[in-house]
Symmetry: C5
Subunit: 321 residues, 5 copies
């Protein structure tokens, strides 16, 4: 589905143009075309391939989808794949933005994303001195938008982790904890697959040997790179903390279990006193003189309760009860 197809000159919008006019505008010097697609049909992509002269392999990738984040050079143009991450309720949704960038055009095609880039275009049009820098700046603006949307997701994951941490030393929530930790781990891994390859790829857009296209906007890409670094560091911490938390949770299960066992053992011992002595005085021997004492029964009860009480006191003191 076509969202926008606009030609710009000197950073200012010329007009919305029909798709078939793209190749004409591309030939005008100083002119620059920015097209946005959403969940593009193969036919649309084929049309774009024809108008922009895109490379076959890049278009194939865009059609198939499910690409890993990457930045590929085809001659003097770039093919960029970025994964978007959105959160609805408690679920992560991974979308994809394929961006074809040439010296005087940008074609972005997003998939499985609920949020578009209208805001990016609007802001870019409000700042003609920046938009004048052309395709590389638009590429930056789009990547920056995608990466900026990672931050709230990462924050949500951090909050989830903190919620688990808050109850990790509580008794009785081990089952919930381990389940939450496992689900969180899976989300973090998905997030990581969006971030890590992009981190590698972005390193090539500033610093060393940079594609001609991005020569003058290196500092902008370094800025995005830096944001990604922060996100990546946070993700690594979350992963590390999750795996420690899983271990800690197991330790807590073991510790709680061992305390329950101690308590169980202590009560079992106390009851065993009654059972054993009652058993003895329940034997049917003929000559058991204490059975015939007037206060035998009371004495026996007293004795049994005293021993039990003493045990209770001892267990209490040693922390078993």
């Amino acid at each position: 589905m076509l969202i926008n197809c606009v030609a710009y000159q000197e950073g200012k919008k010329l007009s919305d143009i029909p798709i078939s006019a793209i190749s004409d505008y591309l030939e005008q010097p100083g002119c620059f075309v920015w097209v946005a697609l959403c969940d593009a049909e193969p036919a649309e992509l084929a049309e774009m391939q024809h108008e922009f002269g895109l490379h076959e392999l890049a278009v194939e990738d865009a059609q198939r989808g499910n690409q890993r984040p990457k930045i590929e050079e085809y001659g003097d143009s770039l093919f960029v794949v970025v994964q978007s991450v959105e959160m609805t309720g408690n679920e992560l949704h991974i979308g994809e933005v394929d961006i074809f960038v040439g010296p005087n055009y940008v074609l972005s095609s997003r998939k499985r994303m609920s949020q578009g880039f209208l805001g990016v275009r609007a802001r870019a049009e409000r700042e003609p001195h920046l938009l004048k820098q052309g395709a590389a700046f638009v590429l930056y603006a789009l990547m920056d938008a995608v990466v900026d949307r990672y931050f709230p997701v990462v924050t949500t994951l951090e909050t989830e982790l903190e919620a688990i941490e808050a109850r990790i030393f509580e008794q009785g929530s081990e089952r919930t904890n381990i389940k939450s930790l496992y689900e969180l781990k899976n989300k973090v891994m998905a997030m990581r697959h969006a971030v890590a390859p992009l981190l590698d790829a972005l390193g090539k857009l500033h610093g060393g040997r940079v594609p001609a296209l991005c020569m003058d906007t290196q500092e902008y890409f370094r800025d995005v790179h830096d944001h990604l670094h922060r996100i990546n560091a946070t993700i690594d911490t979350i992963r590390d903390t999750i795996s420690t938390a899983i271990q800690v949770n197991l330790s807590m299960v073991a510790i709680n279990e061992s305390e329950v066992n101690k308590r169980l053992a202590a009560w079992a011992a106390i009851f065993a006193i009654f059972t054993a002595f009652a058993g003895i005085w329940g034997m049917n021997f003929e000559f058991m003189p204490e059975l015939h004492l007037k206060y035998g029964y009371a004495g026996a009860l007293l004795f049994m309760f005293s021993v039990a009480g003493y045990l209770y006191y001892r267990f209490r003191k040693s922390g078993w009860l």
Copy 2:
């Protein structure tokens, strides 16, 4: 076993040729020979070595088999080993394709594979403009075919993992889970041995210093490289998830165990009440006034059941029962 032995010119099939004619065709300019073997005998390989002038060490490797994936340069020709991965039922089968590539020939020899490359040849012959690019394109087409067949296998492994995940928090399936996880781990490791070394090797066919042969088809090899990257990333995630799942499974065993123990402890306590009091009132002391009360028995039963009931209520409330 010889599958095909065909000479091509300008991307078009000339004819099937006898093996002994190979060296003649190789001398014709613009001519290009593509031979496919299957589970080749040493004699066949020796014949090929003679016709194509293959390097001794490369032929030795092909004869021995069980090579790791690699790309080796011998002068201006390449020796490429790729492992195929096929799944029959629940079992992984690792096959091997050895490909000898020179400026004007390709010799592929597959082993322990049920599926061949007839489709690759057919498609290549339908697209003479691509086949015209010669040996490097055929190498690409073969590698691409092998790598594309990794995807469904990886998907199957992912599905197996999801099936395990679906029952990982269920009680009673821990034994099956741990067994499945261990078997899955072994499969993933085998898969990884096919993928990881090829990933390293393929990096040399695009980007930096590239063998002369592959100079003009770099973008194709980058594409295969990218597919491998995706597969490798998925494999890494599966491995990581398996090892977390093993830990989680152990935690679940411990958690379930500790709940069983609590329940056991609770019932043991309740029964201990009956045993202890019954023991006391079963003692043979002469003076136990309550034994002679009319409603002594009923009272005792009431008392015992009350205490047991109270305990039951307490245990219930604290989640032990």
Copy 3:
């Protein structure tokens, strides 16, 4: 909030100057301006950006805060972010110092820090031969101050770890230990996020390709780098030790548990003797000759205590009791 705004010449303080005069002083040859801000307002930063001609992206980063440690080149100036680590009571506080450095100015802006850099300035002013080296030396002095403050924090973390280690083989403190280890781990991870990225960044200020600004002070930056290396190595040891300690703690839980279980089993066996025999002699068979013996009861007690004593002796010897 402005803390200081001072102009220097030849390493000597000229005078405190108003903000609006900064750009004038910057134009005087051999003059050098050093400004310190604390929890700066956006308006203050905007003013500074105007006076010093700072790069937009750097100022944006400083405004947003929560940057990861980094050293970025913008033309011939540097933008440096360092994280401070302070400890109040048992809590770690991560602050941030943003330093803008140009050929003849240093602007430092600290956030969420209780301790400032007045001492650094005072010492620098006492050593004009060093201060004469200009902006790079001030940058060094500031970074050195921040890094030096890491040492006592790391020492505190080490002391905490030693305190945990001292009681890790004690029975009964497993719960406290695991909690302390987990909290310590989180602190160490926070510390690590301050140190590790700075370590990477500082490597660029000495040795290889160094920004022109820091050319003559390389040995000073190498010195800071070296301090960071030490801190980083200590942090790595603490992390490694924590994760071993968590495992050891779990092992201790299991070992203690298994000893408690053995003791429980031993006592249960001893009591079972009484219960079983008392049960037997409490049966109501008519012909149980031993019941009618004069010393039957005494004999029975003797027998039971003997067996129990023997068991006790055996359990004692095998270390169960």
Copy 4:
């Protein structure tokens, strides 16, 4: 102990020569000396040092023994240390081969090895066209022989691992398994110490900057390197599998334990029924009407067995028994 001392020319054996004649032969152009020692005495090494003009540090290393695998350049000669791995019964034996290689000599000195290199020499002498390549080819032949002997050892380790895997899900063999896994791990680590450093070192004998000596035999060394890569990959898989197997084994202990506990709990519950009710009807209250019923006893037994049977049925159904 001297094994062989032979002079070659043009790839053909001239004659066995006395040690003292070595330096004479070395001076003849096109002549090449190959000496083999076994468990050499210091005096022998000193003599060799004198004849061949070996570097002091290399000779010292050879004397001390217990070197890690390495390839060191001393001027235009090489000092190579390779570890051999032999298996007798169930034990690994690590031997050592020190090889001094110069433009026209090879001196190999093996230690703690039961198997020598006579076969290597015999084969080399049968192939004069290869032996003509001189010292580098002999070095290759020796290293190839050592590395080829790794394969059966690795296969044995794999077989041991498979034997353990076959019984890892069996009940009752956990103790044997963990012991076998630990011993296997230690063997694999020893093996790894022979392989990993050699892998690094061999990388320098082909591809990039190669010692002049090995310039023309690069492809041979690449072949050995490739074999080592395969061995190393297998070792890594074994290590990885061992550590998963240790975890799985622990899980199996926990799972089996928890099933034993459930069974124990179930039977304890069934017996508790009898004990409790027998206790109640064993009380000595005067008014217990059911005691006087004709079928009271039978009824009580019926009741107790019914409850026990019902419990048995319930436990059976829920998988506890």
Copy 5:
């Protein structure tokens, strides 16, 4: 404390010289001064700084102590820090040697070390042809001495590990094992902090870009480097083995525990037989015909013992007892 202060020429000792004469001797061509300090006072270091013209930052590091191993270039001189490792009884002691090396001087300053370098000096003086090589050779000799002293320590650690391994599958020593493993781990980590950074640093003294000072002694430093590699590899193996051993120890606890539990369960079952049947025949029903049989009691005992015996036999056969 000054240990030695000696001037050398052409590898031969001139004489012991007073500290104040150092700078004079340094000016004589071909002359070379070697000073050794032990636990130096700040004043001594200041004097040395003045005589040798040492760099301020290096002297500061030497004064503060607790440096990590490193090799720093200051102009044409080097500042080297090496950590010594000594073992007294069961304790590791980490000392430190700071070495200042210039073209014609070596100043070594050791701290917290019981053993000095008199032997190194004596041996160097006995070999004037080596000592003639000057400062770099002395540096080598000192580093070699320190590194050689690592070997016995590493061997001690290996022996400790073997002692633990010998009892790891024994029952009853789990508590001692885990404690020993933890302490060993800490020692190994301390050792590693001495070795690992030095390994990195030493790589710069041979092979690639080497400080002018060490140009001609590269092979010596490569030799030290190689020794360190061996030590480091051994340390890595010990670490790896320790962490496997900790896991194995935990497994052994679990396995032993589960066997104790089985035994406990078996005996509990056997005793439960007696208790249950004795309870039944202890009931007070009026009509219990078997109670009145002549051999009722004997039959009951026989019955109970038979059932118990049968259970015992069954448990024995299934390995529970």
